[in-house]
């Protein structure tokens, strides 16, 4: 198997986890109720932990650089995260909807990777899959609750879904060069198949919540992140993230 193809897959997954973990961690101390504060911090730890584990796979199995250096020192256009995860937290409605849409996408991805022909990813996926169960349980519970709790709350959740959906489809931006090779090499089933499975997961929950999912055939997916094109929100995030580390990149912190 071409290691460049696997690297492409691992980097985009890891970058998504790192950046969304960063966004989730911004809720620490600011949640609408203390219980949600704790939940978002907890999910931030999981996501950043997943990113770390993936960068370690890259470092140890694919001849990559040290995880800290790789995560903290790249140029903005070398990150391969989707634009969805870069977006600021906004109000709790957008953050919750992003959590719901992203974590279901993450779940179908790791479920499929549990059968990957690339052993290190397979091992990792088996572990992460178990954690994600609680994330989607949490997301479903809150989406169902808030969508059915009065006019304002329902309207906010519908609005958040409308705003998030095109960005969420951006998660499934296919690899520019390696998609076919990754599929035929049984590394993963490919973005088209993952998107299909994701739609099957989210639709019943949204229906039960009384929210209407826009016609996905007509929503323009917001691509670009996987090629290094990012929104204006990523650079300030990266500068903040590496502020201390860059004081001395050779020192131990």
């Amino acid at each position: 198997m071409n290691p460049e193809a696997i690297k492409d897959l691992v980097i985009k997954m890891a970058d998504d986890e790192l950046i969304l973990g960063h966004r989730n961690s911004e809720w620490t101390g600011l949640g609408p109720v203390m219980e949600e504060d704790i939940a978002f911090s907890s999910m931030a730890q999981d996501k950043i932990g997943h990113a770390w584990a993936l960068y370690q796979v890259l470092h140890e199995q694919l001849n990559g650089t040290d995880p800290d250096r790789f995560a903290f020192l790249r140029k903005e256009n070398e990150y391969r995260c989707s634009q969805f995860v870069e977006m600021p937290n906004g109000s709790y409605d957008f953050s919750l909807m992003r959590h719901f849409l992203f974590d279901h996408a993450e779940t179908v991805r790791y479920e499929s990777l549990a059968a990957s022909a690339f052993e290190p990813l397979k091992t990792l996926a088996l572990k992460i899959r178990g954690e994600l169960k609680y994330h989607t349980l949490h997301a479903n519970a809150w989406v169902l609750q808030l969508s059915q709790a009065g006019e304002e709350s329902h309207a906010r959740m519908q609005q958040a879904l409308n705003e998030a959906i095109g960005l969420a489809l951006g998660i499934f931006e296919p690899s520019e060069h390696w998609e076919d090779e990754l599929i035929s090499g049984q590394i993963y089933p490919g973005e088209v198949a993952l998107r299909q499975r994701w739609e099957e997961r989210i639709l019943p929950v949204l229906t039960q919540a009384g929210l209407s999912l826009p016609d996905l055939g007509r929503v323009e997916p917001i691509y670009g992140g996987r090629k290094g094109y990012h929104t204006v929100h990523l650079l300030p995030l990266l500068n903040e993230m590496s502020e201390v580390y860059k004081l001395d990149t050779e020192a131990s912190w």
Binding site: T28, L30, M34, Y92, L144, Q145, W253
Partner: protein, 330 residues
């Protein structure tokens, strides 16, 4: 963190008249405490005991959630995965402690919502130490090591107090705090043994935090009123000076061992009395900060207000009558 030794009370407040407490019941109550029994929520208790405990636990709870803010702003800037994960976990624990403590205070009859409103209006206080800024990464190490250490001294003492729900919350909190202390100590050592720039950064942070740390346990015993009854009722378990001395005894040698200095030339242990001697910190500054004049009082409350206002629709929605289903705790 973060129960401080000093619990703010309204100045010149008269204690509730004692005659409203049935003397027989009071005698039974005090005898139970003297025997080392725990008082539980449904038990009879003097009105002043209830008031003091609410004040104590509520301020402790506020200190946890406000205390999450100075360190919380460094989560996104923590250098490297190891520090980042440890810091999120730590700050998350502090919020969890807040939750446990609000629950404990609620058993005494004051709702979480009322307590939060009193925090936002300035009626209810929190530990003074969080009204100072965490300027650099080294401040995070100093807070994580020394402020947590100071809080542990206080909380271990309080966990042996008389009110059951508070003691049980504190036992769990102290258990988690011991991990926080390790986390802070580890980050502290890393800087202390690091590059010259890292050491300078740490020394500067230590100099900045020394006075707030000395303030942490509250004014000297000689200046403190009404603590005798609180000690008898096992609401207050150790005097401010005793706790400060215990802290200095445990941690000053650890700081000096690393070749760092503390900004008080008079600081030394008197080998005869076994007590630490130090320059009295500026207590006027302490009271000024408590009363809203510190560098970050306004900012801390504004952040909390932002969270309260922006989250109001969520709390309102959770209270919505006629929900189709009960909220499952995931």
């Amino acid at each position: 963190m973060y129960g401080a030794g000093y619990i703010f009370d309204e100045p010149n407040r008269k204690p509730l008249p004692e005659q409203q407490d049935d003397p027989e019941k009071l005698a039974v109550f005090e005898a139970r405490i003297a025997r080392g029994e725990k008082i539980e929520p449904g038990d009879w208790m003097p009105a002043e005991y209830r008031r003091q405990l609410i004040r104590l636990i509520e301020q402790h709870a506020h200190s946890e959630i406000i205390g999450a803010l100075p360190e919380g702003t460094w989560i996104t800037r923590a250098p490297g995965f190891k520090r980042k994960l440890a810091l999120i976990a730590k700050v998350q624990d502090e919020i969890g402690h807040g939750q446990l403590l609000y629950n404990a205070a609620e058993t005494l009859g004051k709702s979480r919502e009322t307590m939060i409103n009193d925090l936002l209006s300035g009626k209810s206080k929190y530990s003074n130490v969080f009204n100072y800024p965490a300027k650099t990464w080294a401040d995070v190490a100093v807070i994580g090591f020394l402020i947590d250490a100071a809080a542990i001294v206080n909380q271990v003492a309080n966990s042996k107090g008389s009110y059951g729900p508070y003691c049980r919350a504190l036992e769990r909190i102290c258990y988690e705090e011991s991990f926080h202390l390790k986390q802070g100590h580890d980050a502290f050592i890393e800087l202390a043994t690091g590059t010259p720039a890292q050491r300078t950064m740490l020394q500067d942070a230590l100099n900045r935090w020394w006075q707030p740390i000395m303030h942490f346990f509250g004014p000297p015993d000689k200046a403190s009123s009404h603590s005798e009854k609180l000690m008898q009722w096992k609401v207050k378990m150790a005097s401010n000076d005793d706790m400060r001395n215990q802290f200095l005894d445990m941690y000053v040698p650890k700081i000096w061992e690393l070749g760092l200095t503390l900004p008080d030339p008079a600081l030394k242990k008197n080998e005869e009395t076994k007590k630490w001697e130090y320059t009295d910190p500026d207590w006027n500054e302490f009271f000024k900060v408590i009363n809203g004049g510190g560098p970050c009082n306004e900012e801390r409350l504004q952040v909390r207000k932002w969270a309260e206002e922006n989250g109001r629709w969520v709390r309102k929605a959770l209270m919505q009558p006629g929900d189709k289903k009960a909220f499952p705790v995931a």
